[in-house]
């Protein structure tokens, strides 16, 4: 094995282990529970298929949170309108597939490309109009724009207003209700691709400028960077990735409705990013895992003796308390705190 490969493997051993686990995961669950990862009795049932769904949702959230982190954690731009890109990605794919009468494969390809391009342009327009605003003003502006779209599309007759519409024109190979394992691997690959893309971007010269803007925008300007261009690049890329996540979401649920434009698809990635670690590569993925898995595990009735506690009903309350604790005790999130602890240990050893 060449030296450079070995070095890459050595510095990424944790990522490689996680990747191996995720690749094996459906089979592991199948092996433990005895339910085949392909389903039971020719139908998509059983523990393995159930857990695949949870992990697909997790991967989609991770992609969304990573795109949010690109803007928020690496460029220092706080947006409250990220759901706009997520939802518009889903809507545009749905519209192209269902309303144009295109063949399913053509419709899928066209919908993905048009959706990503439109969301990029949307990000660019929002950025040009509002990026001169700073901090909280920009955040409020993005929230207003996103809510405007959500309200309008929630009443738009073409997309059946609040009811939304069903995706029935998907290609046969892309049917998570029948063949979930294929979709599991597809979303996993896209998540890894997003992770590698963002890591490469941030380690590049362009990425170093994004970090500089996060640290001190006026200084970045005075040493000669046109910071507006770089902020636009960041918000546009983040919007395009979020659009991709929205498309994966509507393919998974096979339904497009105004709920994918609601503010919860801004708040969730924000919480995931903060809990996982703002401005770290794996933070959003870990935040998405912790939040989504704990919601799935605890969001049910617990029966202790004669007492039954329904945590699910109070899930938002628990989430709120957990969030306050993280912000107050570990403001750098799980990954940031871990990295700091390790760095501290290293320096005391020396």
């Amino acid at each position: 094995m060449p030296v450079s490969w070995r070095r890459t493997l050595q510095s990424n051993w944790f990522h490689v282990l996680v990747l191996l686990f995720l690749v094996m995961f459906p089979h592991l669950v199948g092996w433990i529970t005895g339910d085949s990862p392909l389903g039971v009795g020719g139908r998509p049932r059983g523990q393995s298929v159930f857990w695949q769904l949870i992990f697909i949702e997790l991967f989609i959230f991770a992609i969304l949170a990573m795109s949010y982190n690109l803007m928020f954690g690496f460029t220092g731009v706080i947006s409250f309108g990220h759901a706009l890109f997520f939802g518009m990605g889903g809507y545009i794919l749905g519209l192209v597939l269902e309303k144009t009468g295109a063949a399913s494969e053509v419709g899928l390809a066209a919908g993905v490309i048009i959706g990503i391009v439109v969301c990029g342009v949307l990000g660019l327009i929002i950025g040009v109009v509002s990026l001169r605003l700073r901090g909280v003003y920009f955040a409020i502006f993005t929230l207003a724009v996103a809510e405007m779209f959500a309200i309008y599309i929630g009443r738009w007759p073409v997309t059946n207003a609040e009811d939304g519409f069903v995706l029935s024109n998907l290609p046969a190979f892309l049917n998570p209700a029948r063949d979930r394992l294929t979709y599991y691997y597809l979303v996993l690959i896209l998540m890894i691709f997003t992770f590698l893309f963002i890591r490469r971007l941030i380690n590049s010269p362009t990425g170093s400028v994004l970090l500089a803007i996060r640290e001190n925008e006026s200084r970045a300007q005075s040493i000669g960077y046109n910071t507006l261009i770089f902020k636009l690049l960041s918000i546009t890329l983040a919007g395009m990735i979020a659009a991709g996540a929205g498309m994966l979401q509507v393919i998974l649920t096979k339904k497009v409705g105004p709920e994918i434009l609601t503010v919860s698809f801004t708040v969730d990635p924000l919480l995931m990013t903060i809990i996982g670690g703002v401005g770290t590569f794996s933070g959003p993925v870990i935040g998405a895992s912790v939040l989504h898995l704990s919601e799935r595990i605890f969001n049910r009735e617990f029966i202790i003796g004669s007492m039954s506690i329904n945590i699910g009903q109070n899930w938002s309350l628990i989430l709120g308390i957990a969030f306050i604790l993280v912000v107050m005790v570990f403001p750098q999130g799980i990954v940031g705190t871990w990295a700091k602890w390790r760095a501290g240990k290293k320096t005391t050893l020396e």
Partner: protein
């Protein structure tokens, strides 16, 4: 400088009168020129009709008591503020409305009164970013930033020059105050600007460190044949290294001349000795 003859547009009848001194500065090719600058904040006139010629290769200091408008003037020259009236020329080009980041590309570098660095990035990254700003590589997002060896080498050279070699890989935030001022200087120098605009570079420094910094600034100017514009509160600091001094008071230009002329000037003495800031001139009397 291609020897382009520069003529400022005539704005008001006052400009038709050109003194001997003005003629001299036209001939010696002015690097930075301010023409009738005025800046109002609401009803307050912070800078009132100030004109300034800075000759290349010199140290030109702007001094004055607190509230004299020095920092406002500085911000007008660097482009942080847009003037209410008047113009700024750099090497004959009207830069009054040129964006901040473009000025760095033209060859103007500025420092800040308060320490202004990238706190969570390493010292090396702070300096490397400044080197990269004037390079095409900033729009490359596929290669690793540290694979552009020439930028890294250049950054290390300057870090060595200001004496931060051992701390190059530490985050800038852990540096002591003096170290941060040195880093600030390195960020400025790595871009190799023709004109350095320094806003109270000695602010917050222990007084025994001040002569060392002043010496560094003068060495940099001589070696690189650079022009320095220095804004200072303390008159004592600028007396030894300045070629020309502009004194401001209450937003207006009070006097301009060589250090000897300025220290002999009666009105300047009145402003400094008569006001609250008598201490500012104290050092000069001992010399």
């Amino acid at each position: 400088m291609s020897g382009a003859v520069f003529e400022p547009p005539l704005r008001n009848p006052k400009d038709i009168f050109i003194s001997d001194q003005d003629c001299r500065s036209f001939m010696t090719n002015v690097i930075l020129q301010a023409r009738n600058l005025r800046k109002e904040f609401g009803g307050l006139v912070a800078v009132d009709d100030v004109s300034l010629d800075v000759a290349p290769g010199t140290v030109h200091s702007i001094i004055g008591p607190n509230g004299a408008g020095k920092t406002t003037l500085f911000n007008l020259l660097t482009g942080q503020y847009k003037p209410t009236r008047g113009q700024v020329f750099f090497k004959g080009q009207d830069i009054t409305h040129v964006a901040l980041h473009r000025r760095a590309h033209l060859g103007m570098g500025r420092s800040f009164q308060i320490t202004n660095i990238f706190p969570n990035l390493t010292v090396l990254e702070n300096v490397r970013l400044a080197a990269q700003a004037l390079n095409r590589s900033q729009f490359n997002f596929f290669r690793r930033a540290d694979s552009f060896k020439d930028l890294v080498t250049r950054a290390y050279e300057v870090i060595e020059l200001v004496g931060l070699r051992e701390l190059a890989l530490s985050p800038a935030t852990v540096l002591p105050h003096g170290g941060k001022r040195k880093l600030e200087l390195a960020i400025l120098l790595v871009a190799d600007p023709e004109l350095l605009l320094l806003d109270e570079p000695t602010a917050g420094m222990a007084s025994e460190q001040v002569p060392e910094l002043i010496k560094t600034i003068d060495t940099i100017r001589q070696k690189g044949n650079k022009t320095v514009i220095l804004v200072e509160h303390n008159m004592n600091v600028v007396m030894n290294i300045s070629h020309r001094i502009t004194v401001m008071n209450l937003g207006k230009l009070l006097a301009e001349g060589s250090p000897a002329e300025i220290s002999a000037d009666k009105t300047v003495q009145n402003v400094y000795l008569g006001g609250l800031y008598g201490d500012a001139i104290e050092g000069t009397r001992h010399e």
